[in-house]
């Protein structure tokens, strides 16, 4: 693979101002599956209103790290997390913290579109109903419409809100899942390879969407596509065998990486 041309990378910088305040911070985070250490001590900040891309070879721990940020690893038996992760300065692994509230603030979009076997409407209304965000039916309708609009799906589905979400195309399903995530008004959205099951056109739509959403949310996105990382992110973090090798402005990572491992990976000599 060739180096990404600088004009592609320039795009994001002009369109948004990156605030320098950290939204989430991870400090010496280690994750173990049984006794195997999958994440070996990572320090990383996610800034307010930034898009940060996680790249790295398969199995290096990108998904694992992403999942520590909203405690999705809790659902895996024998998975243990050490170190601290804070959201707005509050330790999210604090036993007194309600994981339900955390996940409402830190939403997640998965690699494979996973709409519930319910209607499109109910898919989006699921979160708001759980958290009691809507006062009455009208309110809920509004939240659903807004979320679908922001996910760029409203025009395609407004006439079939009562049809099953599983009947949509793969790209539409993924945007439905994004709509579902933003319906609970999270502050951070985590995306694990959201486009890996999609064709280039659907991918372009999602990337556009990420760009729009970044004005309101902090977004962390795992991707295997160097171009995608270059197109959508402000900063890029390179993971290697459970360690964070380098995190820098995307432009810098793709033009003059600090570390030779990063360079090897993005020039395609590795992974």
């Amino acid at each position: 693979m060739k180096m990404i041309s600088p004009d592609v990378i320039g795009q994001r910088k002009e369109s948004s101002e990156v605030a320098s305040k950290a939204k989430m911070s991870a400090r010496s985070v280690r994750v173990f599956y049984s006794e195997v250490e999958a994440i070996k001590g990572i320090d990383l900040d996610i800034m307010e209103n930034e898009v940060i891309a996680f790249i790295g070879p398969s199995g290096c721990g990108k998904s694992t790290f992403l999942r520590t940020l909203n405690r999705m690893n809790d659902t895996i038996e024998d998975c243990r997390v050490e170190g601290t992760v804070t959201l707005d300065g509050q330790d999210i692994y604090d036993p007194s913290l309600d994981v339900v509230m955390l996940r409402a603030q830190v939403g997640m979009v998965f690699q494979k579109p996973n709409p519930f076997p319910k209607s499109i409407y109910d898919n989006v209304a699921y979160g708001p109903k759980l958290h009691g965000l809507a006062r009455g039916r009208g309110d809920l309708d509004e939240i659903v419409e807004n979320s679908l609009r922001r996910a760029g799906l409203w025009d395609e589905v407004k006439d079939r809100l009562d049809k099953p979400g599983t009947g949509l195309s793969g790209g539409q399903q993924q945007r439905l899942c994004i709509a579902r995530a933003i319906a609970v008004s999270p502050e951070v959205i985590l995306m694990d390879e959201p486009c890996s099951a999609l064709d280039p056109i659907a991918t372009a739509k999602i990337e556009e969407l990420i760009d729009e959403l970044s004005s309101q949310y902090s977004i962390a996105i795992v991707t295997h596509s160097m171009q995608q990382a270059a197109r959508v992110s402000d900063r890029t973090a390179y993971f290697h065998l459970g360690e964070l090798i380098e995190v820098n402005n995307t432009e810098k990572v793709f033009t003059q990486p600090d570390h030779h491992l990063t360079e090897a990976y993005i020039t395609g000599r590795f992974g």
Binding site: M72, T75, R103, A104, M108, P117, G127, L130
Partner: protein, 458 residues
């Protein structure tokens, strides 16, 4: 030489034939420049099959026809005054002649004509046996010689052998299917016979069950109304499901969603043992422990609860079918993709919210299928109800009273001293057929639902 040694001999001959085929094909391969179509083993098999199959076919046919032929010859040679005996007496006589011929179990004096007939019987059997052996041996030899002569490179031995194997498998499958069809047909025939005594209207819509055993001879036929029995079956099954469905479903949810894997690996087999306990053990347990317990609880509360009642039988049956519900539901719940759970948890749903709102609705069709399978099991269950339901075929709606079910009645009608041609016995076939149709329908619907569900995530 009896039939067993005959078959053994034939098998031995087949082994030899196999070797002949093998050697012949190798010899041909050496002399012929053309490449053999199949590997030598297939030529061996082909020769062995040609040796065995025709001979076996003759053996089967012979065994089928021999008794009838010999019998007609022996009967034909009997003294003239015995010529027109009724059929039943003929078979009694043939039995007696057989005993005389073998010299075992002869009762009473042997008349001279009987001795003569028995001697003829022995002679005929010996001739028949010799002829059979000769025919089979010559067929086997001819088969080997012919097959051996046909061995040449172009003979597609492998394809022929494969065809025979496929035919063999098809015959085995056919036996199972034919048995089922045969049972259904004979049940159907006998049920029709029953309906020649009692009209279907009376049977299916009658509300009184009082078959009045024919031996008491007290005039009339008795009444054969199915409804009290069907209602009893329904009541017991519903009680069983009321016990098994909630407990089984909760168990399944716990096992699939909450239990740590070590507990699951221990508890699942233990629960499934419940299904392996012989039903008679459950019956005894119901009769001696659960029934009296319910009765004493009733006493305490001041309600009349009979020890043997729909409640007792239903409750114990419910315990028995818990593993059916839990095991099937567990499998179905585990099949719901993890990604759906992750999606829900990722939105901030708790585990129980996820289960109630995402997992169970997704698994619902399959779970309903599991319930129906459990229901069909309950409807067909016999031993527990025989012992613990009280056997009282009266139409009433009180689950605390004794009832009778279709299965119990079948047992009652066929045990004891009964004449198998009377409607009192034949009704068992009509009852059995009804039961069969009901459980079949439930099974078909359940399997359809379960399969439909499986497709959803494949």
């Amino acid at each position: 030489m009896n039939n067993l040694t005959l078959i053994a001999g034939l098998l031995m001959l087949m082994a030899v034939a196999y070797q002949i085929g093998l050697m012949r094909s190798r010899a041909v391969a050496r002399t012929d420049s053309e490449r053999m179509h199949s590997r030598p083993v297939y030529y061996g098999w082909l020769v062995a099959l040609w040796c065995g199959v025709p001979a076996l076919f003759v053996f089967g046919l012979w065994s089928l026809l021999e008794p009838a032929v010999i019998r007609s010859i022996v009967i034909g040679a009997l003294p003239a005054e015995l010529a027109d005996m009724p059929a039943q007496q003929v078979s009694v006589l043939m039995n007696r002649l057989g005993h005389i011929a073998s010299g075992f179990g002869v009762a009473g004096e042997v008349a001279p004509w009987e001795a003569a007939a028995a001697e003829q019987l022995t002679r005929l059997q010996a001739i028949s046996q010799l002829a059979k052996i000769a025919l089979m041996a010559s067929l086997a030899m001819a088969g080997v010689l012919m097959a051996r002569r046909h061995i040449r490179p172009s003979l597609r031995a492998r394809n022929h052998v494969e065809k025979v194997i496929a035919a063999l498998l098809a015959i085995c499958a056919g036996v199972a299917v034919l048995t089922t069809v045969g049972i259904v047909f004979s049940m159907f025939g006998e049920a029709m016979h029953f309906f020649s005594f009692v009209s279907p209207m009376e049977f299916f819509f009658g509300t009184t069950w009082n078959p009045r055993f024919s031996t008491t001879g007290a005039g009339g036929q008795g009444e054969f109304g199915l409804l009290p029995l069907l209602w009893g079956t329904l009541m017991v099954s519903i009680i069983a499901l009321l016990v098994a469905v909630p407990i089984g479903l909760m168990t399944a949810i716990y096992m699939a969603e909450y239990a740590p894997s070590w507990l699951r690996s221990v508890a699942k087999p233990v629960i499934e043992v419940l299904a392996g306990i012989p039903t008679i053990v459950y019956g005894v347990f119901a009769l001696m422990v659960v029934g009296p317990f319910f009765a004493s609880v009733g006493d305490m509360l001041g309600i009349q609860i009979r020890a043997t009642s729909a409640l007792t039988a239903g409750f114990v049956m419910g315990v028995m079918i818990i593993p059916f519900v839990s095991s099937l539901s567990d499998d179905i719940i585990t099949q719901v993709p993890q990604s759906l759970r992750d999606g829900s948890l990722g939105l901030g749903a708790t585990r129980s919210e996820t289960i109630r709102q995402v997992v169970l609705p997704a698994a619902l069709p399959g779970i309903v299928g599991a319930f129906l399978l459990a229901a069909s099991r309950a409807i067909g269950e016999t031993m527990i109800v025989v012992l613990a339901a009280g056997n009282s075929p009266v139409l009433h709606a009180n689950p605390l009273e004794a009832v009778s079910t279709v299965t119990v009645t079948i047992v009652n009608q066929l045990t004891g001293d009964t004449d198998f041609a009377s409607p009192q016995s034949l009704v068992a076939f009509a009852l059995g057929l009804t039961l069969f149709v009901i459980t079949l329908a439930l099974n078909v619907v359940a399997l359809y639902i379960v399969r439909k569900y499986r497709e959803q995530y494949d």
